[in-house]
């Protein structure tokens, strides 16, 4: 008997696999992380039950998950949309910071009633986020300069711009800390009736729906996915690749800017120097987990929202370091890159028995 493994390239990714990969990845990551829990002397089932079941069955938990998920959904899309065109926007964190800084500035310095001020803050944050992605977009579109490197370098620039603004021009007058003054009530995103959930989640959901429709139903979406799957063929078909590249990156930047301002205005209340949430980096994992559709991005972002909130309550209740979430995230990443392979290749394991005996058992010669 012979074990034969053959690896063949797939021409199409089967539909079931597109759903099985993210699910398997997460289950595998949670399973391996349970070893760390066992090592800490904690019952993994109890820990995961605290993390997921308790979080999702309490009202407070659900509110917190949605609050966390809002910027994750928006930054997830900020990475996902350029990824559809084959670009890696790994600098969503910088676009988030710069957008949030600009939006916060408007909130602190413009006197308008809340019904106008909050939308203005969102628009300015989106524009600033888009601006932060613009130079990498132009460099990529016209000279093929790797956007992964440039968007990330722009993140480091944004972090220092934040340090400069919060310890100088934008520093709150009453405090000696590097932070802005508190945003006024008019500059705060209102809650949805009396749910305790700020309205930023509506922006995020609207963005998911818009992205889904735009990518799967519009001419723009067709051009984006065409360029993403085969840039040369797209160019031959008359699509201006450069135009698509610039557009997807500034749309991504705008979404990241929205993520930043909704979090500052809806949750934080002021911009503190220590604010560097890392949403833009988790967004890369979210976008890769959900890269088959905007709806999957939405689900993946919710999952990470639960993970972050549940991780904190696990720390409080069971003494498990919340950094376990970092380990789970790292493992998700590791399994995700391995899954890349199974997506592109079909692995067949065949048990090949002795050919003569097989023929005999099949009823002899003559077939």
């Amino acid at each position: 008997m012979d074990v034969e493994i053959d690896v063949t390239a797939r021409e199409h990714v089967p539909r079931w696999l597109a759903y099985a990969i993210p699910v398997t990845t997460i289950v595998a990551a949670l399973t391996v992380s349970s070893l760390a829990l066992v090592a800490l002397g904690v019952d993994p089932l109890a820990a995961y039950s605290t993390m997921f079941v308790d979080t999702l069955t309490s009202e407070f938990g659900v509110v917190q998950v949605l609050e966390k998920a809002t910027p994750l959904i928006l930054t997830g899309l900020a990475v996902y949309i350029p990824l559809q065109a084959g670009l890696g926007n790994i600098g969503a964190e910088g676009q988030l910071l710069f957008g949030a800084l600009a939006g916060t500035w408007v909130g602190l310095n413009v006197a308008l009633p809340g019904a106008l001020l909050v939308p203005l803050m969102f628009v300015v944050a989106a524009a600033a986020g888009a601006l932060w992605a613009f130079v990498p977009a132009i460099l990529r579109a016209h000279w093929n300069i790797n956007e992964i490197i440039t968007t990330l370098l722009f993140t480091f620039i944004a972090q220092n711009v934040r340090n400069y603004l919060l310890s100088g021009p934008m520093q709150g007058e009453t405090a000696n800390f590097p932070q802005t003054a508190l945003l006024s009530a008019a500059a705060t995103v209102p809650n949805i009736s009396d749910t305790g959930i700020h309205a930023g989640i509506l922006v995020a959901v609207a963005a998911v729906v818009l992205a889904y429709v735009a990518l799967s139903r519009s001419r723009f979406g067709f051009e984006v996915t065409f360029v993403g799957s085969n840039p040369d063929a797209a160019t031959y078909a008359g699509i201006d690749k450069r135009h698509v590249y610039v557009l997807v990156l500034i749309v991504g930047g705008a979404l990241a800017g929205l993520a930043g301002i909704s979090d500052i205005s809806g949750v934080q209340g002021r911009f503190q120097n220590s604010y560097s949430p890392g949403y833009g980096f988790t967004a890369i994992v979210i976008a890769l987990l959900g890269r088959n559709s905007a709806l999957q991005v939405f689900v993946a972002a919710l999952f990470f929202g639960v993970l972050f909130v549940g991780g904190t309550s696990m720390e409080v209740l069971m003494g498990v370091p919340a950094a376990l979430v970092d380990v789970i995230q790292a493992l998700v990443i590791l399994f995700l890159i391995t899954a890349e392979f199974f997506k592109r290749y079909r692995v067949g394991v065949r048990l090949e028995r002795d050919p003569i005996r097989a023929t005999v058992e099949n009823g002899g010669v003559g077939e």
């Binding site: 620039i157 890769l288 590791l334």
Partner: protein, 329 residues
């Protein structure tokens, strides 16, 4: 020492990180494998080097541990990109996220530890007289052992890539893997070798950072230096000696920013345009604004190099980012 020679000295010390990381990236890319995981490999190298030094008290053991950690993480990248033929960009970015996550988690325990790292010394045997050379003597011949090692590595890498059989086979694999395969070169083995060397160099860069340059561990100690190194390789057109010079240029930038923390430069209020220029000057010399310069210059230099060679003179290895398989698919 004069201001200028102090600055050169600081430039060499700050540049060593880039020398290690960018030389490793050069070797990996010369074989056709882009490694965007350098930043993560540097972080892992920095932390394991630091922790090993704290525990054993030996910075040489720490340096070795840093290299080993870089090699181990690059092995993951190699398996994914070479054997499993994953997208090299995605794999690299994921490796960086992985390295950042792991070192944030495990690094917490080491943040307040202190070590006796690599001491500065005069280069043995010949250093005593050479160190008296004006301007550059101190910078080149009085430094840490890792600084000397980095200077030595650039010509060694050049010799390896362009004057040895194995080096030439390695570059052939990065240019035209099919032909190299036909000529009997084991493409897969060669690419593994290149990626693992690159990972070891990245680990060395990280270990140098925590053991010789900063002599401490903080979360995200690399602060984007790995990404600057990736850009530096393009700027240096994949040539080791140019990598060395470019690395010291970026080191100079790093050093300038550190040395001029207290620098104030103002025009006499009566000078023409002083009212306009003085606020501009104080903005440009603000330490937080100066901290952005290395990144801005990296982007500018990258753009300049690529745009100037828009006519196709950019010496990028032809098979860079192309996975190789023997059967047609």
């Amino acid at each position: 020492m004069s201001f200028l020679s102090t600055l050169l000295d600081a430039a060499i010390q700050a540049g060593t990180v880039f020398v290690f990381a960018a030389l490793g990236e050069t070797i990996s890319e010369r074989a056709g494998v882009l490694n965007l995981g350098v930043e993560g490999m540097m972080l892992v190298g920095a932390l394991s080097g630091f922790a090993t030094t704290v525990v054993t008290g030996s910075y040489w053991l720490g340096f070795g541990a840093g290299i080993l950690a870089g090699v181990l993480l690059s092995f993951v990248h190699a398996v994914l990109c070479i054997t499993l033929k994953s997208n090299q960009e995605i794999s690299g970015v994921m490796i960086t996220l992985l390295g950042t996550g792991l070192t944030t988690f495990f690094g917490q325990a080491w943040v307040s530890s202190s070590i006796n790292g690599f001491p500065e010394m005069t280069l043995p045997f010949v250093g005593q007289s050479l160190v008296r050379i004006p301007l550059v003597g101190e910078a080149l011949f009085h430094s840490t052992a890792t600084d000397f090692l980095a200077m030595l590595l650039a010509p060694v890498c050049w010799y390896f890539l362009f004057r040895t059989n194995i080096g030439l086979e390695l570059t052939a694999v990065g240019e035209d893997p099919e032909t190299a395969d036909t000529m009997g070169v084991d493409v897969f083995r060669m690419r593994y070798l290149a990626v693992l060397i690159g990972g070891g160099f990245a680990g060395a860069a990280g270990a140098h950072l925590s053991l010789a340059y900063a002599q401490l561990w903080t979360t995200s100690i690399t602060a984007g230096r790995g990404w600057i190194a990736v850009a530096l390789v393009i700027f240096a057109q994949w040539r080791p000696i140019r990598v060395l010079l470019g690395a010291y240029l970026f080191g100079l930038l790093d050093a300038l920013q550190l040395r001029s923390q207290a620098l104030t430069l103002t025009l006499d209020p009566s000078a023409p345009l002083a009212g306009v220029l003085n606020p501009v000057l104080s903005f440009l010399l603000d330490p937080t604004i100066m901290a952005t310069y290395p990144y801005i210059v990296t982007i500018a230099v990258l753009a300049f190099t690529v745009i100037r060679s828009d006519d196709g003179t950019l010496a990028v290895p032809s098979a860079l980012q192309q996975s190789y398989s023997r059967e047609m698919d």
